[in-house]
């Protein structure tokens, strides 16, 4: 009964897949696409600010606001998040010696909701009403009075994408808790798995707050509620709190897996075990915990009073302690190692000083009186780009170069890789280092132009040149990715790795491990190699492997939400035709969309998925 299962090919295979490795590639592809879109928006911003007002104005104020909003929103939610999730999907199950994630179906649902949410947000470019409220969407700017349908795109697009993230977070938590290979205790887990675990936990507790906040914005806008409307008793500060209760943990959601990737790459290429493994785990957990206690440092100038400001200032500085532990551990890891500067290692080592600079300006900003000076200036822009680009993007690129062979079964070109690194790294510092000074010289952020001869002209020009270098670096990376399709085939263990994912073929077969491995300690695969073995000792006899069936339902569930999103967004909109007015005005579209989703949920609940088995003969045939 369980043998006959429909196998799809081509596009249908990608739409229906529940295989975590393919979903990881989907996340990578979609995240890469949005990264390029966000990058183009960044280039537009830098082109506009390259010269002072009157020389070379390519964007007007309104368009600038839109580009700036979409740049931030896209990069955080639609580029960095999916790239992190792509890595987690590609790596975590392999690192813990699991055949699959805990909820393959939900994994697919998580990807498709994210994707449709991102598409919905970006469709705003074609309907002419783009979000122009900053990625923080502060009230009352995001309310009915001051912004149009663009804000609905923001609220509903992120709402749909957020569902996907939450689902993905739960999936990885359960996977890591329940599905570790025999012998893989918590304190034997590779650090990337640990950071993915903590990150998933933060997602679980941060995203519901965002969901509620976005619902409030939508209710305020579409159903005339009064949550953030001061005139009717609402409170705009409340939105700031809710947003940052989510928003600050969000930064750690992104940066922790980045830390984890660095903690994998440095030991591999320094050929030493990670220094201070348990303190790394402890520091990760502590950062996760502290991430929920510092949100109001984004709001020092709001006027909460001295006590609140002092409290949140001190709490914020506390985070420097576990982060410092991590930085020193990384340094001690490479100290005295036999370092091999591959592209991944270049990115990883350059991450350390760059991220420390972002961290140091973070501590500066955590001092409330100083923050009053830095606030809303380019100093802040420089700070968070050092953290997000210098911290997260550099390590994501390191991780991409490191795990690419495992994900795609092909090697990336090292020469091109090094070119991309130097272009990107030099470009990055050129762009953002000088922005610290621009901020200190008084240049405000989020303003579409500036007058000449205030001492900002040269610095802005330099910054924009740096942006072109970064763009060139990204183009080289894309070329490298494309030519790798025909590149040399990757061996199972190209880097002489330490963790379980390198003990199986590249790319790994759909069932990952023919026999679940027996884990005897930290750096499980390295231990076996040191004992002179070529592969892991199996923990079970060879037997048929149960696999989940592919399903189209996640795609349609997400499509339903997507349609419903449009239904709600345009319910109060005045269309030319009466037909359209009725269709949206009576919520017919919205109900239709939700109905699709509910029917899919019903089908999923009623029809059990028996999956199928890969038989022993098949496994032996594949070698």
């Amino acid at each position: 009964m369980a043998h006959s299962v429909k196998k799809y090919r081509g596009l249908m295979d990608w739409i229906t897949t529940v295989d975590h490795k393919k979903i990881g590639i989907l996340y990578f592809a979609a995240g890469g696409l949005f990264f390029v879109i966000g990058g183009i928006e960044a280039l537009l911003i830098r082109l506009q600010l390259m010269f002072p007002k009157g020389t070379f104005d390519i964007l007007d104020g309104q368009t600038y606001n839109e580009v700036m909003t979409m740049h931030g929103t896209t990069m955080i939610f639609l580029a960095a998040m999916p790239l992190v999730f792509g890595l987690m999907n590609a790596v975590v199950p392999l690192q813990i010696g699991a055949r699959d994630v805990a909820f393959p179906f939900l994994n697919s649902l998580g990807f498709w909701t994210f994707f449709f949410g991102g598409v919905l947000l970006n469709i705003s470019w074609f309907t002419g009403t783009v979000p122009d409220i900053g990625w923080t969407a502060y009230a009352p700017l995001s309310g009915q009075e001051f912004s149009g349908t663009g804000s609905d795109y923001y609220a509903i697009g992120l709402q749909i994408a957020g569902i996907g993230t939450l689902v993905g977070g739960i999936n990885f938590l359960v996977t890591i808790i329940n599905m570790r290979a025999p012998g893989m205790s918590f304190m034997r887990m590779p650090l990337f798995t640990w950071t993915s675990f903590i990150t998933s936990g933060i997602i679980l507790f941060a995203f519901p707050a965002l969901a509620v906040g976005l619902i409030y914005i939508s209710f305020d806008r579409l159903f005339d509620a009064n949550f953030f409307v001061t005139a009717t008793g609402g409170n705009a500060i409340l939105w700031e709190h809710i947003f940052w209760i989510f928003g600050h943990p969000e930064v750690y959601i992104l940066v922790l897996p980045a830390f984890g990737a660095i903690s994998e790459i440095l030991p591999t290429f320094a050929r030493k075990r990670l220094f201070g493994y348990s303190s790394m785990v402890f520091a990760t957990a502590l950062i996760g915990f502290l991430s929920f206690m510092v949100w109001a440092h984004h709001m020092f100038t709001v006027g909460m009073g001295d006590i609140a400001n002092a409290l949140f200032g001190v709490a914020t500085m506390l985070i420097a302690i576990p982060t410092g532990i991590k930085v020193f551990n990384w340094l001690f890891t490479i100290w005295g190692g036999k370092i091999q500067f591959t592209t991944a290692m270049l990115y990883a080592t350059s991450f350390i000083p760059t991220f420390v600079m972002g961290g140091v300006t973070g501590v500066m900003l955590a001092i409330p009186p100083a923050d009053f000076q830095f606030h809303d200036s380019y100093f802040v822009v420089a700070h968070f780009h050092y953290v997000i680009v210098g911290g997260i993007v550099l390590s994501l690129l390191a991780a991409a170069y490191y795990w690419w062979p495992k994900m795609f079964g092909r090697m990336l070109n090292e020469t091109l890789g090094k070119w991309s690194f130097w272009l990107f790294f030099i470009g990055f510092h050129l762009t953002f280092f000088i922005q610290h000074f621009l901020g200190l010289w008084g240049m405000p952020r989020r303003v579409f132009t500036y007058l000449p001869n205030q001492g900002w002209d040269t610095a802005n020009f330099v910054s924009s040149i740096g942006a072109f270098f970064m763009a060139a670096g990204v183009i080289v990376i894309l070329i490298n990715a494309i030519i790798s399709i025909k590149g040399p085939k990757a061996p199972a263990d190209p880097w002489d790795g330490r963790t379980l994912e390198w003990s199986i073929a590249s790319p790994s077969p759909e069932y990952n491990f023919k026999q679940l491995p027996l884990v005897r300690g930290l750096d499980a695969f390295w231990l076996e190699k040191m004992d002179g073995k070529k592969e892991m000792t199996p923990a079970e006899p060879l037997g048929p492997i149960h696999m989940p069936s592919p399903s189209i339902l996640p795609f349609f569930m997400s499509l339903g939400l997507f349609i419903a999103g449009f239904g709600f967004m345009y319910r109060g909109y005045e269309f030319e035709s009466a037909f359209m007015n009725n269709l949206f005005g009576y919520n017919i579209i919205a109900i239709f969309g939700l109905a699709i989703t509910l029917v899919c949920m019903f089908l999923r609940s009623v029809y059990d998925d028996h999956g199928y088995h890969i038989e022993v003969e098949e496994l032996q045939k594949e070698g």
């Binding site: 329940n178 519901p208 707050a209 906040g213 209710f219 008793g233 409340l238 809710i242």
Partner: protein
């Protein structure tokens, strides 16, 4: 295989017998952790905006302790009956399990009827709509969200009852029942805070 023989083969805690089942139960617990934050944010909003009544009615004028008490009693009892359903499941007594689940659903419906009546009274007689004031928006958001959870739970448990009738109690259906009962208890726990913070505190002023 006859139903009885099949039931004999079923392990003592069928919801935790398979890895899929254990994953489902744990995953649902984690989801409830997320729901705690979701309701926490809704509560926080209500607390922040509870005094922003403008010209609209206040909590003291609106709330009726007797209706709240009845609603509380109904929901508490339904939580107990859903525990009984799980006990029946562990004793592999499908008939009793379905009966207790049925009672839970009926009580849930009773709670919903009461809530809809309450909301109707507010809107029709007290002029207390969703858009009246920030207080009203936050009140309806919090209590309405909880009500939506109850409604979803009623639909969900009903669907599961039909599934049990069709498929019987297996290691696939048992985790679903268990998880639905967790959900139902959680709704009850949230209600404990709603009657305390919204209604009782609203009455105190």
């Amino acid at each position: 295989m006859s139903q009885a023989a099949h039931l004999d083969k079923l392990p003592p805690e069928p919801e935790k017998a398979t890895l899929e089942g254990r994953n489902k139960v744990l995953g649902f617990w984690l989801f409830l952790g997320g729901e705690t934050v979701l309701f926490g944010t809704l509560f926080a909003t209500f607390i922040a905006l509870r005094n922003s009544v403008l010209d609209g009615p206040t909590g003291i004028e609106l709330f009726s302790l007797s209706i709240t008490a009845i609603a509380t009693f109904i929901l508490l009892t339904s939580s107990l009956t859903s525990v009984f359903a799980i006990q029946a499941m562990h004793h592999k007594n499908i008939k009793n399990m379905l009966t207790w689940l049925g009672v839970t659903v009926v009580l849930g419906l009773g709670f919903l009827v009461l809530e809809i009546y309450e909301f109707y009274e507010y809107v029709a007689h007290d002029g207390f709509g969703f858009t009246t004031s920030a207080f009203s928006s936050s009140f309806y958001a919090l209590v309405g969200f909880h009500g939506a959870h109850v409604a979803l739970g009623v639909l969900w448990i009903s669907l599961l009852m039909l599934q049990i009738k069709k498929k019987g109690l297996t290691t696939v259906t048992a985790p679903k029942i268990y998880v639905a009962s967790l959900y139902w208890h959680f709704i009850d726990v949230v209600w404990v805070f709603i009657f305390t913070i919204v209604y009782l505190m609203g009455k105190v002023g």
